[in-house]
C-alpha cells in the first residue's frame, strides 16, 4: 500500500472547516504531515481533536464540511471510497472489538476487504507478535484486559497495512499498566514499521518522548505547533494555572528559565535530557561552591 514517496506529504489539510448540526467543530485547519512523522495532538475537550481524526480517516460525520483533505495523495471527501492507506484506533477498548476470539477480530478488517482467507490466516500471528498478543490468538475477547483490548485494536489496524495510523486518545480509558503497554507498542511501531503516526494524547510526558512535533488545538483551531523542546516553552498555552498540561520537567525548566538560572536554548521537555542538563548544572554549581 505504498503510494507516497519519502519526504512527501502523507497528510495535507487545507482550510478545513466542519460544523456539526448543533455546533462548530473545526474552524479553519491547515496542516501538513510528512511521511514517517509522528505528530501528537493535544488540547482541551471540545477542541475538535476527535473530529479532525475521523475526518482524516475519511469517516466524515453528518454536518457541513469545507476545505480540502489529502491523504497519501488522494482527496478525501464524503463520497470517497474506503481509504486503505490509513487506519484509526479509538479510545474505547470495548466497542472496537468485534470478533469473539482474538484471531477473528484481527481478521475482521481484511475479511471486509475481501482478502484471501489464507493470506489473512498467515498474517495473523505476526501482527499479534508486534502488539505482544501472540499467545492469545485463540483467546475469547471478553477475557482480555483493557490494555490488551487496545493492543488488539492496534493489531486490527496494522493488519490492514496502512501507511498512516491515527490514534484518538488510545490510552485514556486504561490504567497505568495498560497505558504503558499501549504506548510501548506505539513507540516500537514507529521504529519497526515505516509508519506516519498522528496521535491525540493527554499524557504529556509520554507524548514529549515520542512525538517529532506536537499540535495544540483549541476551539477548532491550531493555536501552536512545534517540536516538543520548542513548543512546551510557550507561556501563552502552558505554564499557567488554567493552561494545558505540559510535562512536569517542562514546567520546572521553564520556571528556572524565568528565574534566570537557565538559558532558553537549554530548554527540553524530555525526562532524560532534563536530568542530564540538571546534573551538569548542579555539578558545575557544586564545583563553584566548593572552590568559592
Amino acid at each position: 500500500m505504498q503510494d507516497a514517496q519519502p519526504g512527501e506529504k502523507a497528510i495535507e489539510v487545507d482550510g478545513l472547516r466542519f460544523r456539526y448540526p448543533e455546533r462548530e467543530a473545526l474552524d479553519g485547519i491547515d496542516l501538513v504531515v510528512r511521511r514517517g512523522e509522528f505528530v501528537g495532538i493535544t488540547g482541551p475537550s471540545g477542541a475538535g481533536k476527535s473530529t479532525l481524526c475521523v475526518c482524516l480517516k475519511g469517516l466524515i460525520p453528518a454536518g457541513e464540511i469545507s476545505g480540502r483533505i489529502m491523504v497519501s495523495g488522494k482527496e478525501i471527501d464524503r463520497v470517497s471510497p474506503f481509504q486503505e492507506n490509513s487506519a484509526i484506533v479509538f479510545q474505547d477498548p470495548e466497542t472496537q472489538i468485534i470478533g469473539l476470539t482474538v484471531a477473528e477480530d484481527v481478521a475482521f478488517g481484511p475479511e471486509n476487504l475481501k482478502r484471501d482467507p489464507d493470506w489473512i490466516r498467515a498474517h495473523i500471528p505476526e501482527t499479534l507478535k508486534i502488539v505482544r498478543l501472540e499467545a492469545y490468538e485463540n483467546a475469547e475477547t471478553y477475557q482480555l484486559s483493557g490494555g490488551q483490548k487496545q493492543r488488539l485494536a492496534i493489531a486490527d489496524a496494522l493488519i490492514l497495512q496502512p501507511d498512516i495510523m491515527i490514534l484518538d486518545e488510545p490510552t485514556s480509558e486504561l490504567d497505568p499498566v495498560g497505558k504503558e503497554e499501549v504506548l510501548d507498542v506505539i513507540a516500537r511501531l514507529r521504529h519497526e514499521r515505516d509508519l506516519t503516526v498522528v496521535m491525540v494524547e493527554h499524557a504529556a510526558e509520554q507524548l514529549a518522548e515520542m512525538a517529532d512535533r506536537i499540535i495544540v488545538m483549541e476551539a477548532g483551531r491550531i493555536v501552536d505547533q512545534g517540536p516538543p523542546n520548542i513548543l512546551y516553552r510557550n507561556a501563552a498555552i502552558f505554564h499557567r494555572p488554567d493552561g494545558e498540561r505540559a510535562p512536569q520537567v517542562a514546567e520546572v525548566l521553564y520556571g528556572l528559565i524565568e528565574d534566570g538560572l537557565l538559558d532558553e536554548s537549554e530548554f527540553t521537555a524530555r525526562e532524560e535530557e532534563a536530568v542530564e542538563l540538571l546534573a551538569r548544572k548542579l555539578g558545575a554549581s557544586q564545583r563553584l561552591a566548593s572552590h568559592g
Partner: protein, 267 residues
Amino acid sequence: MPVGYSIYLERPSYIHHRIDPRTKLAALGSVFVLALAFNHPAVLGGLMLLLLLIAQVAQLSWRSLLPFLIGGIWFLVLGLLIWPFYVQGGPKLFTIFGNPIYLNGVLFGLAMGLRVALMVLAAGIWMMTTSPQKLTVGLLRLGLPYKAGVTMTAAIRFVPLLNAERITITEAQQSRALNLSRGNPFKRAVKSIAIIGPLFIRTIDLAQSLALALEARGFAARDGRTSIVSIEMTNIDRVILVVLAVACLVAIALRILGIGLISRSYL
C-alpha cells in the same frame, strides 16, 4: 447464565469438528419433527436415550448436561401432573378429587414431559457442539446476507458487555439508595426504570461507537466479505442428511398410520 459468548464447549469430538453446522441444524430440526410425530413414552424415551448417546459421542460431560436434564425432570413432573386429568383410555388406576385417572393418561403425561425434555436437551446439545462462528458461516452459505452475519456476531459479542453494564448500573443506583427488594411487583417494575433507562442509553451509545468502528475497518466497503472460518459438506454430511430426511418421512408416515401413539386425539 453463560458468562461468555455462548455455551459452546470446545471438545475434540467427531461431532464438533467433522460435521457441518448446516447438518447439525438439520439434525436439530429433525429431532423436533420426530418428537412431535410420536406421543408414546416408549418411543420418546428411546429418542431421549439416542440423544444421550450422541452427547456421549460429542464428549459432553454429564456436568454440562445437568441443567438441561434437571429442566427435563421438571417437565416430566409437570406432564404427569396435568395430562392425566384430560386423557382417558386403558384401565382406571385411581381417583383424585373425583376425577378418574387412567393408565393412558399417565403414559401420555409422561410422553409429553419427555417430548419437551427431549427438545430442550437437543437444543442444548446443539448449542454445545456448534460454534457460533461456524454457525454464522453456515447460515451465510444457506443464503443469509453477509451484513446480517456480522450483526449476529456483534450481538453475541455484546452480550457479556451489556450484562456487565447492567450490573454496574444496578450497583451505581443501589449506591443511591435504590432498593429493589422492597415493594410489590408493580412498584419494583417502576423502580427498574432507574436501571433500564441508563442501560438503554448506554446501549445506543455503544452501538454508535460500534458503527463507527465497523466503518473504520471497512465494513460494507466491498460487496460481500471473505471469512477465515471454513466449512465443508462432506459425504458423511450428505449421508446424515439423507438418513434424517428418511427418518422424518417415516415418522410422519407412522403418525398417519397411528403407530407409536398413545392417543390419536392429541398431538
